[in-house]
């Protein structure tokens, strides 16, 4: 009993009914569109301070509360996508049951009634139905592989069909969209996107993860052998080219030039040309002790730490800045930044503008540091990614295109050729066609059939 059933299942069937409705699909698609619009109007992934200064206080609070600063990764955006996926799944399964019955029928069923209003052509002929029967059947058999012949009053009917499987096209699209969502899920769970800058001649074995402070070890090293940027006469950039070597277990495994649009792929990692710039190659540092007045010269790279003689502590050269703003205001030009540390004392940041060698005297420390001479080098900025979701996503892309094509440009067409003797001398031949969509295409085929039958 349907009523009893409903009571038994209760909320579960109610839930299924909700997710099986196309109204929900329409609502979800429009909601996703609306949310996406908001995401393009509010700049995404900016630091908190950006929103506080740009918007009014209440608006900024609302933005943080609803995570509109990272809209496309917010829980409620994901909830909408999940609901859409559930909607597609439930809708498709519910309807597939009926469609399977039609598509995987052993013997197709034809009913004359369906063709009554779909006559494409009717013409008289002197031939008898008996004369025509074999010819018509063979003609349809040749084109459609199977036919169904039926004797009628004073004549015959032949039915044929094609494209029954195309009824599944729309489900292929839906399945492909679900597959796409699975692919993106794989991407977001096990994929990563990182960035690294490598000065010419140097190598790195880990990258900085995007949108986080973490670094990711690669299991091999990337060395930048060379970086070159070329320009057109007009000054537009022509090409950014990095020569990269992959070093694993102390051996160079491969060397390749990469440019934008032609990345290097190694062990599931993709290495893309992303940016470039200049950095410091090596610096001649001078450490002058206040106590003894002696100067010590040392050659350093960015990232190096050395012990200053006379037990004056350690110095780490951390950064090179193209134009440094001292106290956040005065531009003191290209500068090196380092950290000096001595036991028990608080580590101190030291700024060393190249143009002002005695700048560090202002600090009044036990040691004065100056950068005497330095050489610049180009660095290449590389985007490093690993994304196991890509093959799944690409497969879904192919299926989506194929599915949309089948769903909209092909159809399940049925044809009927009927020949009836109306008097002793003439037979009327009727060719009819129906289709689940795109009727004109089916009618065109029927016209061609009629032409051929006339010639029999």
């Amino acid at each position: 009993m349907p009523d009893k059933n409903r009571n038994n299942k209760g909320w579960l069937s109610g839930l299924r009914d909700i997710f099986a409705s196309v109204k929900l699909t329409v609502a979800l698609l429009l909601a996703l569109a609306a949310v996406a619009i908001i995401g393009t109007l509010i700049p995404q992934n900016q630091p908190h301070i950006f929103y506080i200064t740009k918007y009014k206080e209440t608006a900024a609070r609302l933005i943080f509360l609803l995570q509109m600063d990272n809209m496309y990764h917010s829980p409620w955006f994901r909830a909408l996508v999940t609901m859409l996926a559930a909607n597609i799944l439930v809708c498709s399964i519910t309807r597939l049951k009926t469609v399977f019955k039609i598509v995987f029928l052993k013997k197709p069923s034809f009913s004359v009634k369906n063709f009554e209003r779909n006559t494409v052509e009717t013409f008289p002929t002197e031939k008898t139905p008996e004369d025509l029967q074999k010819g018509c059947n063979d003609l349809l058999l040749k084109k459609f592989h199977t036919t169904q012949l039926e004797q009628a009053d004073k004549g015959f009917r032949v039915f044929a069909e094609r494209g029954r499987i195309t009824r599944l096209g729309v489900y292929l699209v839906h399945f492909a969209v679900l597959l796409l969502l699975c692919g993106t899920l794989i991407s977001s769970i096990s994929g990563f996107e990182g960035y690294v800058q490598i000065p010419e001649g140097q190598a790195v074995n880990s990258v900085q993860l995007r949108d986080s402070d973490k670094t990711m070890p690669l299991g091999f090293a990337i060395r930048c052998d060379d970086f070159e940027v070329s320009f057109y006469k007009s000054g537009r950039p022509k090409e950014y080219r990095s020569t990269l070597s992959i070093i694993e277990d102390g051996k160079v495994k491969l060397t390749k030039d990469i440019v934008v649009n032609r990345p290097l792929r190694y062990k599931g990692f993709n290495i893309f040309q992303s940016s470039y710039g200049t950095s410091v190659k090596d610096v001649d540092m001078v450490f002058t002790s206040k106590k003894s007045g002696l100067s010590y010269h040392r050659k350093m790279h960015i990232g190096d730490t050395i012990q200053i003689p006379e037990n004056l502590g350690s110095f780490k050269l951390t950064d090179f800045v193209e134009s440094y703003r001292f106290m956040g205001q005065h531009n003191i030009g290209p500068s090196l930044v380092g950290i000096i540390a001595r036991d028990k004392e608080k580590p101190q940041m030291v700024v060393l503008p190249i143009q002002f060698p005695s700048f560090d005297k202002m600090r009044r420390g036990k040691v004065t540091i100056a950068a005497e001479h330095f050489s610049k080098a180009m660095y290449t900025g590389l985007q490093v990614t690993k994304d196991p979701g890509v093959p799944v996503v690409y497969a879904s892309f192919i299926l989506i295109i194929l599915g949309i094509y089948i769903a909209f440009f092909t159809s399940h067409q049925k044809f009927c050729v009927m020949a009836v003797r109306i008097d002793g001398r003439t037979t009327t031949v009727t060719v009819s066609a129906t289709a689940n969509k795109n009727r004109p295409a089916a009618r065109k085929t029927a016209q061609q059939l009629a032409k051929k039958i006339k010639r029999l």
Partner: protein
């Protein structure tokens, strides 16, 4: 350069075609409408010639590439695509009722391309990001989609202007404008055509992004807006096929959808992003 001259003249040929189609509608003259078709074909041929010559001229300059790389070139291709897609649908439905709207689009696109400063009328070499075979596939499919949506928009406007009128006295009976059912069918079919190509356009764009930047989707404003457009037309198709929406509601939907197309094309250039034609 030669291509610019040809393309400027093509603008006026489209304008002339539009005048013919318009007179056909206003004076209910079939001859004028037929002249419109002939002139549109001539304009489309000139348009294609302009594109080919521009392509050849870029090789003469020493940095040859298919002319699909900036706002000017994309507008020129849009004018060509919209007229070709239109001519196909004109032949398919044997009606010239929406010729005026379509040639107006082609005319506006070319006029805007020539007149807008900084659209990129002079041939420029490709910047590194655009040096990819995916450029051709991505731009052509996207613009075939946009063209079909533009035509659907044009028909929807005509539909909404004529559908409410008294049938006996209206233009429908004279065979100038097809009956509302046919217009409805043409809107549906152009939207389906556009949806198919927009889907391929988004997908080729995603594959290209993955080869250039290592991510197939990054919520760049243009990407997002193309997805919004896709959502709107997907809604239209579901509403029509599953809920039986027709006529005025579908026409309004096609108009809103085209608004999203326009924003994807032009509006996004106001926002910073990878597609801003700079």
């Amino acid at each position: 350069m030669l291509n610019s001259y040809i393309l400027s003249y093509t603008t006026f040929i489209y304008g002339l075609a539009m005048v013919c189609y318009m007179s056909g509608l206003i004076f209910k003259s079939k001859i004028a409408s037929k002249a419109g078709t002939v002139i549109t074909i001539i304009a489309a041929v000139c348009n294609l010639l302009g594109i080919i010559i521009r392509w050849a001229e870029s090789y003469k300059l020493g940095f040859g590439h298919i002319p699909l790389s900036n706002l000017y070139e994309s507008l020129v291709f849009f004018a060509f695509a919209v007229s070709v897609v239109y001519l196909v649908f004109e032949a398919r439905f044997s009606t010239r009722a929406f010729g005026a709207a379509t040639t107006l689009f082609a005319f506006l696109a070319l006029a805007y391309a020539s007149l807008k400063p900084g659209a990129g009328q002079e041939i420029q070499p490709l910047i590194p990001a655009l040096k990819s075979n995916w450029l051709t596939a991505h731009v052509i499919t996207c613009f075939l989609g946009y063209s079909a949506f533009a035509i659907a928009f044009g028909i929807s406007v005509i539909y909404l202007l004529t559908a409410g009128k008294d049938d006996r006295a209206s233009v429908h009976n004279k065979g100038i404008i097809p009956p509302p059912e046919t217009l409805d069918e043409i809107i549906y079919q152009t939207v389906v055509f556009g949806f198919f190509f927009l889907s391929i356009g988004i997908i080729t764009g995603a594959v290209w992004a993955n080869t250039a930047w290592g991510r197939y989707w990054g919520w760049d404003p243009k990407e997002t807006w193309s997805l919004i457009t896709w959502f709107i037309y997907a809604t239209l198709l579901h509403a029509r096929l599953m809920r039986g929406w027709q006529h005025k509601r579908i026409a309004w939907f096609a108009i809103i959808g085209f608004g999203a197309v326009l924003f994807t094309y032009f509006g996004v250039n106001l926002l910073p992003g990878l597609h801003s034609y700079q």
